[in-house]
């Protein structure tokens, strides 16, 4: 299930909901707010999202992962609003019979979430005005390898 909202991510509850006696491997990715980006100290992040299409696209990404990798379950929650350094901005969990599918599906989901969902990130810096992250650097981000 895909969710996007401004609530703190409860990773234990998300995991518990995925319990499956047929699962032998469980892979999680969490995106944390880090204290710098491209050598500039970051104070906090702000996420804006267009939630209706995030849910549609997010559910599509989870369904694709299920089909491609034959996993038992996948779940994702993304936050919106102001986040402090160290907070979890996005959580992806995948349960599978074996670890290979779990890792591959988890990576697929976070990679797709980052480039397909209408979500925007504003960095509030210690030393200057806030900046929408990809807007100033998108050419590089679009053509180069995925960042964090």
């Amino acid at each position: 299930m895909f969710r996007i909202n401004d609530r703190v991510i409860d990773s234990e509850a998300l995991k518990t909901a995925m319990a499956d006696p047929a699962a032998g491997g469980f892979c999680v990715f969490e995106g944390w707010v880090r204290n710098e980006n491209e050598d500039r100290p970051v104070e906090r992040l702000e996420y804006e999202a267009y939630e209706p299409l995030c849910v549609t696209e997010g559910e599509a990404v989870l369904a694709e992962a299920s089909e491609r990798f034959g996993i038992l379950g996948a779940s994702c929650q993304h936050r919106t609003g102001l986040l402090e350094i160290g907070e979890c901005a996005v959580w992806v969990g995948v349960a599978a019979a074996h670890r290979d599918e779990a890792f591959k599906a988890c990576r697929y989901i976070i990679d797709e979430i980052k480039v397909r969902l209408p979500i925007w990130k504003k960095e509030h810096y210690v030393d200057g005005p806030s900046v929408w992250v990809n807007c100033e650097r998108c050419s590089k981000h679009q053509t180069a390898k995925p960042g964090t």
Binding site: A89, V90, I113, V115, P118, I119, W120, K122, H141
Partner: protein, 80 residues
């Protein structure tokens, strides 16, 4: 001329100073809407770096726009 509801997000919204407006536009596709509102959303971004949706369905820059449609203009995304 078509009546098109245009919505701006994130950087586009901040540059336009409004989150949306209804415009009378001579347009065939979403690409035309993007170009004709460029002075409003104020972006130097090429549309290839941006995304677009029509009536809450993800679209592309060749998607036709009909009278009364809502076109959502998304600057480069940065989820995760």
């Amino acid at each position: 001329m078509k009546s098109v509801h245009v919505r701006y997000f994130a950087m586009f919204r901040e540059k336009a100073g409004i989150s949306g407006e209804t415009l009378q536009l001579d347009v065939e596709t979403t690409s035309d809407v993007f170009e004709q509102t460029r002075d409003r959303h104020g972006s130097a971004e090429p549309s290839a770096h941006c995304k677009v949706a029509v009536n809450d369905v993800m679209a592309n820059w060749q998607t036709p726009v009909a009278d009364g449609d809502t076109v959502l203009l998304f600057p480069p995304v940065a989820g995760g």
